[in-house]
Amino acid sequence: MTQPAIMVQGLRYSYGDLEAVKGISFDVQPGEILGFLGPNGAGKSTTIKMLTGQITPKGGSAQVLGIDVASDNPNLQAQIGVCFEEKNLYLNMSAKENLDFYASLFGIKNPETMEILRRVGLAERAKDRVSTFSKGMRQRMMISRSFINKPKVLFLDEPTDGLDPVTSAQIRQTIKEEAERGAAVLLTTHDMFEADELSDRIAFINQGEIVALDTAENLKLKYGKRSVKIRLRDGESVREEHIGIDDPDASARMAELAASPNLLTIHTEEATLENIFIELTGRGLE
């Protein structure tokens, strides 16, 4: 097994008396996408701030690419890409100028600016000022900016928050491409669908603590119901029948109902990530 790109052990941070992150531990492998799923104020952004060197942890340890995040080592920032939740772009500069400027901060002589803009569908607007961009276009700019140095680790903080489905799908596709390239991705979101679709593993974070960490499949299996819901026409009304998969006569009963001319739909009853989160924490993701 390769060395994890991100290694976190007992990481803590507090704002005054408020303990925002309470000793969390996890790791992310190269090429892996770890979804950090939790409601607003759970400690997701604070964790990213510590791992990107913006704030210094007040306890525990964290290494990114083998570099202690508390060491103020510029080699750390040279190898990471960060996409913030707030769209902090230079509005009076064009898309290309924004990316070229950030490339110059990494010492990149001939940045692949146009190629990156093409990937996020902004190549034709390269020379337009960002102030003229829509919210979705600015978000795509944010994503493209985090790719400018071909980072080995990507920190993406709510990358599709508030975007339309088409733009969200485009952004998710580029994130997958980065992971396929070999980048470790730490993705924070409170969108369970996004976490489910993108993440290799998911960490549920609530009130500064990781309450569960596993693949989406395992979480669903662990916390969901092992049953099938079958809907049948029953005269003028619709009837539902739930069959437990582990029941001894489940196979025979399902075969019987499947052959029925009154069959309407068959659904598995696995839990959604939100259901699991509610079960674990007693609160929702919003």
Partner: protein, 415 residues
């Protein structure tokens, strides 16, 4: 792995970005054009000469003074030839630009100076007094006189002086608004006149001593409005640049673009250096440009003026860093701008109104800057004359610059 990038390359990239952001903002451009074009254009229309004509009241009239003195002087042994010489004394003729208005008594003169009475001079040269409050009509074919200062000689002034009496005192009345330059000029004039009459210096008292001369007394060395305004214009350029720079920093902080910059290899120190260098260069560059356009640099003063200009540019950049980092929004920035820049502006007015620089004004950080600029550009002040002011300015410069840097550092580290 990306090749390590040098600090110089990072700071260079940040400076390039600053220049681009500055050039793209309409407000900054407007302020810059205002400074670089409008101020020099306005400056060219200012008068280059100084109006040093002085209307001076005296009481009693010179002829009365002389007539009153003749008997006493004769008794003291003065010859007819000496008395005839006294008759030929014409003080007004001897002082260029002096218009002498004679009053019969000191009380009337005092009332004219304090505005209770109006003094008019007819085309025949006669002085007519008018009590406006009493409803007296304006005299015909007459011109109103503005008399703000007058000299009251005591009875038997000449004889007492000639007799070498010890308690002879001449009183100068002046309006409270009269500048110290004029008071000083009159004081000199009285001393000279008395010396001419008595052959020795006499004590001269000022009836109204509520103003204070601060700095060097410029009596006999008045500057034209243009000369006076030249340092103030430079000072205003620095101030305007402070607003632009503060706004640039504030935008960076409020839009959190600084946060994005600081997750690259850029260190906080790189960011601070780039802001400080950019602000200083912009301030200095614009100040220098305006200075070259409006004049003021000479072979004798250029090194001193440029040094003071650099110190001023750094001082105002420090203020801009502080203001830009302090305001949480536009209104907040405006509040801090006003809070800090208005006190810094006050010393510049002491140039326009000599004698108004009270002791507390001299304490302000910009006083040594404007004082040295005025001294060097208008009155030929040298390095040796300016060392005290420069040391004081350097102390304030260090305080403001460091305060600005610390405030900005604190801000970006807590975003």
């Amino acid at each position: 792995m990306t090749r390590p990038v040098s600090r110089a390359a990072i700071i260079g990239a940040l400076l390039k970005k600053e220049l681009r952001a500055y050039a793209r903002d309409k407000i900054y451009l407007f302020l810059t054009l205002l400074v670089l074009i409008l101020i020099p254009v306005m400056f060219t229309f200012l008068p280059e000469t100084v109006d040093e004509d002085l209307t001076l009241a005296v009481s009693p009239s010179i002829s009365t003074l002389i007539e009153d003195a003749k008997d006493s002087l004769k008794a003291m042994g003065a010859t007819d030839a000496q008395l005839a010489e006294l008759d030929e004394t014409d003080l007004a003729e001897q002082e260029e630009g002096l218009l002498l208005i004679e009053f019969g008594n000191a009380e009337q003169m005092q009332q004219v100076i304090d505005g209770t009475l109006e003094a008019w001079r007819t085309n025949d040269g006669e002085i007519v007094l008018r009590d406006k409050e009493a409803g007296e009509a304006k005299p015909e074919n007459a011109q109103k006189l503005n008399i703000d200062i007058g000299i009251a000689f005591p009875q038997n002034f000449i004889a007492d002086v000639a007799a070498d009496k010890k308690d002879v005192t001449v009183t100068v009345y002046s309006d409270a608004n009269i500048g110290e330059e004029i008071r000083g000029a009159v004081e000199s004039f009285v001393r000279e006149a008395a010396y001419q009459l008595a052959g020795k210096e006499l004590p001269v008292t000022m009836a109204d001593e509520n103003s204070i001369i601060l700095g060097e007394d410029r009596v006999g060395n008045q500057a034209s409005l243009k000369d006076k305004l030249r340092p103030m214009v430079i000072f205003m350029v620095l101030l305007m640049e402070t607003f632009s720079m503060a706004s640039l920093i504030s935008t960076e902080v409020l839009q959190r673009t600084v946060t994005a910059v600081l997750v690259t290899p850029v260190r906080v120190s790189d960011f601070l250096i780039s802001k400080a260098v950019f602000g200083t260069v912009m301030c200095l560059g614009q100040g220098l440009f305006v200075l070259l356009v409006i004049g003021g640099l000479t072979a004798d003063n250029w090194s001193l003026v440029l040094t003071v200009l650099l110190m001023g540019a750094m001082m105002f950049t420090g203020v801009a860093l502080f203001v830009g980092a302090s305001g949480k929004d536009f209104m907040g920035q405006l509040f801090y701008s006003m809070l800090l820049t208005v006190p810094l502006l006050i010393p510049s007015f002491s140039v326009l109104f000599p004698g108004t620089a009270a002791a507390w004004v001299q304490v302000l950080p910009t006083y040594p800057i404007i004082d040295t600029l005025v001294g060097a550009m208008t009155y030929g002040q040298t390095w040796a004359d300016s060392l005290g002011s420069l040391a004081y300015a350097a102390a304030w410069l260090a305080v403001l610059f460091i305060a600005g840097l610390l405030q900005l550092r604190r801000k970006v580290q807590t975003l």
